[in-house]
Amino acid sequence: MTGRQKTFTLGGIHPEENKLSANAPIEVLPLPKQAIIPMGQNLGAPSKPIVNRGDLVKVGQLIAEAGGFISANIHSPVSGKVLKIDNVPDASGYKRPGIVINVEGDEWEESIDRSVEIKEEIELDGKEIIERVKEKGLVGMGGATFPTFVKLMPPPGKVADYLLINGVECEPYLTSDHRLMLEKGKEILIGTKILMKALKVKKAVIGIENNKPDAINHINELAKGYEGIEVQPLKVQYPQGGEKQLIKAALNREVPSGKLPIEVGCVVQNVGTAYAVYEAVQKNKPLIERVVTVTGKAVRKPSNFMVRVGTPVQELIDAAEGLPESTGKIVNGGPMMGKALTSLEVPVVKGSSGILLMQESESRRKPESPCIRCSKCTYVCPMGLEPFLLAKAAKVGRFDIAEKELVMDCIECGSCQYTCPASIPLLDYLRLGKSMVGAIIRNRKK
């Protein structure tokens, strides 16, 4: 790439990319014996089960309804008998409500179009698209799992003029979006068209980092056939895939503190979401499966799997030829933003993008030493915050200072902690500060 590459201007880091599974085509994982479906798979209120113990369900049948406005429907990813509706352990080890289904066969709802043909023509109008997206339980596939239909309905007085499709995948190791762009490029572009129709915007930009030249070329080639869609190659820099960073990089617009992208006329959706929108609108298929990368330096076969939601992580690791002996930590997500798993029985959910097996040697944290005010964390913070100050404020319980210094703007990208030469768990304290300040703000509103 020649010339100045587009990127965001504030902070950022460049960790080793380690995209080990970039050349592994997406494989369809066999069905699990038992599917565990947690009710809290999306940002916002958890869903409410509407099936009973012993019910027979089909693939794609609605099994849980949205539990509030910011919430999503959940459909059965498998066919079989509902074993129990009980508390199941989630990724953090806490027991939260969920549905366990014993898999029997693979019987789909008749209304779902399972043919492989690509359906170009968009028959639904804008309102129907939003209704369909809501009904099929779509959430943001980038990891934040914000219900998609909410993003498609700008608040009154706000108009979107740009749709951004996030194909950046700036997390090291993860390749699920990369493979999806290579293998389902056409579907993603149709999905983008559908989203454009729903939002009534004329222009869409697909942002892809320069470390995926094959995906850039492929999507560029296909995009010629679609009016208004353009591909924007971006410099490799973490966290380019952050919503606000992507807007700054691709459109040079800055989202004000505490505001949503719609404030500057943008809506950002992940490529995975665009694909899910295509399937929901054109094929009437709810969000029941997604691409998950299983990777790590010691993994025998780094792979990308098309997995049904509810499949235990253990099965994914087995499919990648087992757990390496040197594994020290199993991370749900990428190495920067992912959270370590407490058990291998936890299932894949709508927001899982990867399973990273870290070796013992690379997973250990270095012992913490005192802050020397080198300000490296401030330098790399993509939101322009002062992580050392916020972390200290949260540590000593001065949440008033943390709020004043805009802790709520933190996107939890982890750049500060990655850079810190004193190995201070800055992000841990920032997360503590965020949750406490969030609670204080909510109480104030009441």
Binding site: T327, M358, S361, R431
Partner: protein
């Protein structure tokens, strides 16, 4: 020369006099009456400014007591837990009121998930903050109700009364406890409770706050309350209630008969400062050999194939590229 001196003295003296007169009238016009007893009460208080009484500091408490005494002729409900009965009697004397004797309280840690009773399945390396760890995951031993052992209660204590026991990984309260309640507030899992100190410091309490059913609770901790209800049946004084698979002993009703301690199948009920019983073995504490065996069983159910493997738990794993 003399003239200048006289003029200066009279001018300045006159100015001072006028200012004094003005100030006198202003002072009497805007006078704020403050009950002298507030100062006296404040003097009697321990000046720890710990907030244990529910007021921001001793001065605020003194103001509140004097106000309450003036309005209601009683200061019921107001108590300085740090000063205890002695201080409250003195406060009563200043205010001319009879103060009822209050039973002294002490902070009690209701968790026995020590390293042997609830062995670590995962290894936590994140920030040393219970509040953060509580938001992040269920705990090293797997119990989502149990003590995280990161010492938020120790940090909160102003009286040097609570310390971590490095062997068990649990906090221990000593005699310096004034029942100010700072640790109760600090614990994100509501494990610490203020209970009556009891006669001769004798106490009986359920050392568990796990609300899970028996099976899952026992899976993570050998000494968890499984909600079997044996103690509830054996108690003659209706002091024990079981709600969501967890027994709770009401210290107001408990007569310290120790029957419940004998029947508890998981040793979840603790007796403190009693003389050892004659026919039976003395009550074992957190680290007994019996529990180690049950503890091993838990290790086997750890999620990874390889038993030496450990999973870390931390907010964002830091990648180390150079090995």
């Amino acid at each position: 020369m003399d003239n200048i001196v006289i003029i200066a003295v009279t001018a300045l003296g006159g100015l001072g006099l006028i200012a004094a007169v003005i100030l006198y009238f202003i002072a009497s016009k805007f006078k704020v009456y403050e009950d002298p007893r507030i100062d006296e009460v404040e003097e009697a208080l321990p000046s720890a400014n710990c907030g244990g009484c529910g007021f921001p500091g001793c001065r605020a408490f003194a103001e509140a007591t004097v106000k309450e005494a003036k309005e209601n002729k009683s200061i019921e409900g107001l108590n300085c837990p740090v000063g205890g009965n002695d201080v409250m009697q003195e406060v009563g004397k200043i205010l001319g009121l009879e103060i009822e004797q209050q039973a002294p309280l002490i902070a009690v840690v209701r968790c026995n998930g020590s390293k042997t009773n609830s062995p670590a399945k995962i290894n936590y390396e994140g920030a040393t903050s219970c509040a953060f760890a509580h938001a992040l995951y269920s705990g090293e031993g797997g119990c989502q109700y149990g003590c995280l052992g990161l010492g938020d209660c120790v940090d909160a204590c102003d009286f040097d009364a609570i310390h971590m026991n490095p062997e068990t990984g649990l906090p221990v309260v000593n005699d310096k406890c004034t029942a100010c309640g700072a640790c109760v507030e600090a614990c994100p899992r509501d494990i610490i409770e203020l209970r009556k100190r009891g006669p001769k410091e004798r106490r009986i309490f359920v050392s568990c706050v796990n609300k899970e059913k028996g099976g899952p609770a026992k899976k993570n901790c050998a000494v968890a309350c499984i909600g079997c209800g044996k103690c509830e049946k054996v108690c003659n004084f209706d002091a024990i209630t079981i709600t969501s698979f967890l027994a709770y002993i009401d210290f107001e009703k408990c007569t310290l008969c120790r029957k419940c301690v004998e029947v508890c199948p998981t040793d979840a009920i603790w007796e403190v400062n009693f003389k050892p019983r004659k026919p039976k073995l003395p009550k074992v504490d957190a680290t007994s050999t019996k529990e180690v065996t049950t503890g091993k069983k838990v290790v086997e159910t750890a999620p990874t194939e390889n038993s030496k493997q450990e999973q870390n738990k931390e907010g964002v794993p830091k990648e180390e590229n150079k090995e």
